[in-house]
Point group: D2
């Protein structure tokens, strides 16, 4: 059972944390959208707010007055159910509403939610509030990776923060964890929060496998580059090979070859690459090619979930071989919230784990993240199976 | 064990059948490529021949002289291992080699294969020959659907054949076959021919399900259209909805609304749609949306394989919900033949069954066909699961 | 002869005016680039400054220290001679340098120029300074029209200024001015400033013509729309017709049909259209089609120049039928300044006159503006010839 | 006055010549369209026939029965006035009507025209017939250059003819012809046939100039290449430079660098380049850049016309600096024939002269050809002015 007080605290803390992430930004940084996958920070601030307004305040807070009726148009993302919206590719073309206005909007909605929940503790509403909080936490992760992209693609390579630790090192020795053949239980089962895509505890038959207890490191990945991995078509999917050719890919995102040495853009600015850190900012195509080169493969999401208790995880989202598909008995929720997950269940890969950008307590062993196979701006990494 | 004589007969019969399929064509029909997914018939004739020359004659027939060294460049498809090739989008720009020259090439290679195998019966070579035959049979299917596309997109809508039966009717009553929860064996196991992607008999855990004993019919699909299925975004994947919008999709491929009635282009020319025939020429996106609208879903490829013994199949390739992925213990063959299947195992869906265009004995319960989610020029259909 | 003092005043006044134009902006408005033809205001501020630094201070001010070596990369526009540059389509992706930094850059360079010219009065340097001032004035015009585009394509349609007069009315009666057949002198001849593309006073033979003493009005243009002008292909060039179809053009840029009435976005926000104001924000294609519909034609730039003394002009840039080509004896200046005009002399049309966005004294009877035939974000208009 | 008999002979001879040009073709060569600017030979055969059917037979031959009502849809080119048409980019996707059918169509229409004109000699009809003949002659030129493109882009580089002389040599010494400043008469004036775009004899003022009596040769062009002409951006228009970069242009069309020597595809197959032949298959951008490199310029079309009597011409269409614009008093004909020229008068350059592909007597000193600035598949060349 959800307690109103602690949930409100959780809500307020989440709202505050989003804004803390933006503290190092100049106003200009809030506005731009260098590629379609990246949203302007201003948009994340507004959209996560609009979610509470649209799904909780408007339908349930009787005396609530919408902050600005135009904002629904600007800050709706993909919810076709709730009306027209600015197309995604246009988000970076909007200088207004101003950043200050968006912060006013945040305050206004935060206060209205607070008032509402000081009066009500209807379980259904609390459930919506919880979804809204988790939704905002998801956007915190995107917010940070989008900020990195915005700054990391600026030719001045500005520094975001001198203290953010992006590249921890796993200090244990690489080893293989072997699991036996058999039926395993997969999916979310407990009373705590989860998304609908991880629900439906069900059985999966796994054949025997061995999974690495450690993520692939930069050192190993540099060996792959040096061995000509980006030039050997037989390591790649046909579609991956086209992607490499058409985009002239030769290394992970943010890597720069300067005077013969690999450096990369980090939130602390340009830095030498630490060989023992897990490699990151690679696409599924690259993860797959690396595994082929090693004579290994990527785990399925089920193999990962069954084995996750035997290794530390959480600094990189880990690409799996599994396509993002519904679990048995998955049913889409009605209405706009039903658009949250189900409509993306095609032509994407599941990632498991979490990353240095993931808010604390936001991920869990059954959490299913998903991205298209060519995307690299998240803190993605890989773990081998043999 | 493969017997040389019967395999040679199988070879000769296969070569002949390819040419029989082309009999109704004008020379001009052999040349064009209206979309990138369709290859000119001339190219299929040449490519299936080049396969025997490249992988059997050149390496194994000592006195063999290549018919024309330029043909390797023209008729290679995607085998990066064996050198440069005309890019796929350019196949329809090649008027030469002429059709007659391509038939001479076929005769030349057919005879050389015959001579070679009258002398040798090395099991490895026989294995290659068998692969080459099955490769050509696969191209027979594409050849027919490509011809349909070439003629069906010509504004004159020419007739291919007055006798080809494209639209059989399943006469039994629609019913549900229920299977119990448990572990099932999946994949190819016997001594007979199969592709590498279906090998590796393995266990899969299935939860209880009911699968239709009949394909979805045109009548049912027209109900979906009439009910506004193509206008309801909540039935579609986000990517499917974009596809519908951008391409103005309102019905299956080849359907024409004429004076208020649905007709479709068939190999017999324009015909009224038979309501009891299975719907065909739909994309995965459409199959999925239809199933959503019915409150059902598509089977996984494992559910299909476990249940296939309980229903007739083979007139439509059936879309499944399964992404095309390697089976446990799948390993890519070395060299060019390793490019056959593995490199396509991303962002495609598995289709099971077979179709009216599938050569006799070319499919089997474990056969895995695969296409991108937006393709419609094959005889695709769907079967529901609940 | 150019006097240093008055030129320095002119310089300081020009620098100040650019900043005055930006006063109504929010910081966010300085950053975005909704279409490739529009540059972020921040970029105009920096680029017009970089021009002075690059072409005057660096080569001629001995003790000058470049403000920031990265700025050359960011604020170079098309000068291939002077090194690498951010591609035009990426200007809106740069949040840094910040607006404040750009203003610091402006102050720094303005002061350095002031110091330099207090010491030197070398005629060649004065000439460069004059070019730099006119260059900045040209950017003032673009700055204003780019601001209009940025705000006018924001769904919130923000107001820029309550006082800017964009839509003056020509109060005289429409009449025709007739000129006789004969040889006319064309081009710039006097001692005052001009660009190289208007130099080379030369003779042109004109046949007799009559030119309107008044610009085409909104009222007349609405008649064209009402008469189906956008639907009649025979009024359009083939390329213009494709442009209309592909972009769904039905009215000038910024026009909105609201409850059956035409309104347009102006720098004062959304306003009813004044029927007697000259029509503006139309492409060459539209100007041509309108003239065809009227049974008239557009003037050549020579007809315009020969007749300009007989009518008021300066509120709209007027499309002419003339392609933008070099005058006889035109020669490109050496080095980077030679890139200023000559390299654009293909596939563009000449516009004559000036517009409400043109800085005072910046245009003249021989001034040649030029744009591609589909562009509409300038204050373009048209005058008929018969 | 046009005499019916001689015009009928001219008609029959023209019809026959079109077919003679196709004699070396394989049926397959009639069908393909490797780029949008090239039409399949079959289409030229049909379109030039449809023109007679559409504009003469249908409206004026009372008992005429249209050969096939679908052909209007297939063989209309850009005449929006006369109904729907297959879009240009789809011409190469049509295998039907077959080549044989198109020849039957030709015979049918040729005979019907013959019958009609044996009965009638209405001057208006004779005028239409004359236009139709010249229209077909224009297509003969395109037919030959399209055939060259189809064969020259086939990796087998097939030979069209062993006798066609594409590359004549101008044997006289290069010299300059100087013309005095003054008023010149331009445009077509005589009683003989011309297109509407060359009509309206009018006066043009020319300043003194010197024009070469000889076309630029391959030898001179190779010097330009060797001197790095394709790498020096200051020789190019901005748009031309983008074209060079994006398409990796390094030499004229059909040139191949083989073992250190320049060869080119000709209608006789691959041949060494003759240094004294005029360079051909270059775009306007290349012609302009070459002239810049030489410190010269291209002539205007008026300079060319005034001087053409002093030099031999007719082996290359010669790029001019003039944009394709209407002459004074140009008026578009009513109806579909009005679409012939006027609608293309934007963003193209005038070419003067004629080429080895131009039918005898088809060009004249006032003839204005026109193409976009990047096209190269015609036999284009250049002549310098200083």
């Amino acid at each position: 059972m959800i307690l109103t007080d602690s949930l409100l605290d959780f809500f307020l803390e989440t709202r505050k944390h989003t804004e803390t992430l933006c503290e190092p930004l100049e106003i200009e940084d809030y506005v731009v959208q260098p590629i379609i996958d990246v949203s302007p920070p201003k948009w994340h601030l507004g959209h996560s707010t609009w979610f509470f307004e649209q799904f909780i305040l408007e339908p349930h807070a009787t005396s609530y007055r919408v902050f600005d009726t135009d904002f629904s148009f600007v800050f709706n993302s993909y919810y076709e159910t709730v009306g027209k919206r600015v197309v995604r590719s246009d988000r970076g073309n909007l200088s207004r509403p101003s950043v200050q206005k968006v912060y006013e909007y945040r305050d206004y909605v935060t206060k209205a939610i607070k008032s509402l929940f000081q009066e009500k503790n209807d379980p259904e509403l609390l459930n919506l509030l919880e979804i809204g909080i988790h939704h905002e936490k998801q956007h915190q992760e995107l917010l940070l990776t989008d900020i990195k992209y915005i700054l990391g693609n600026n030719p001045l390579l500005p520094i975001y923060s001198d203290t953010f630790k992006e590249h921890p090192v796993e200090k244990h020795v690489q080893d293989w964890v072997s699991l036996e053949e058999g039926v395993y239980d997969i999916g979310h089962n407990s009373e705590t929060f989860s998304y609908d895509n991880e629900l439906g505890r069900h059985k999966v038959y796994l054949h025997a496998y061995s999974i690495a207890n450690k993520l692939v490191t930069n050192k190993e990945y540099i060996e792959f580059i040096t061995a000509g991995g980006y030039q050997k078509f037989d390591l790649w999917h046909a579609e991956g090979w086209d992607w490499v050719q058409q985009n002239g890919i030769e290394s992970p995102l943010y890597w720069h070859r300067i005077d013969g040495n690999w450096q990369h853009y980090t939130l602390k600015g340009l830095q030498p690459i630490h060989p023992e850190s897990p490699v990151t900012h690679i696409s599924y195509f690259e993860a797959f090619a690396f595994a082929q080169w090693k004579g290994c493969r990527l785990p399925t999401e089920f193999e990962w979930e069954a084995a996750q208790q035997y290794f530390p995880w959480g600094s990189r989202w880990e690409w799996t071989e599994s396509a993002y598909l519904p679990y048995p008995n998955y049913t889409k929720a009605d209405g706009a919230l039903g658009e949250y997950n189900g409509k993306f269940m095609v032509n994407q890969k599941v990632l498991r784990g979490g990353s240095v950008a993931t808010p604390i307590n936001h991920t869990r062993p059954t959490y299913r993240n998903f991205f298209q196979t060519d995307l690299r701006w998240q803190y993605t990494g890989l773990r081998l199976v043999k």
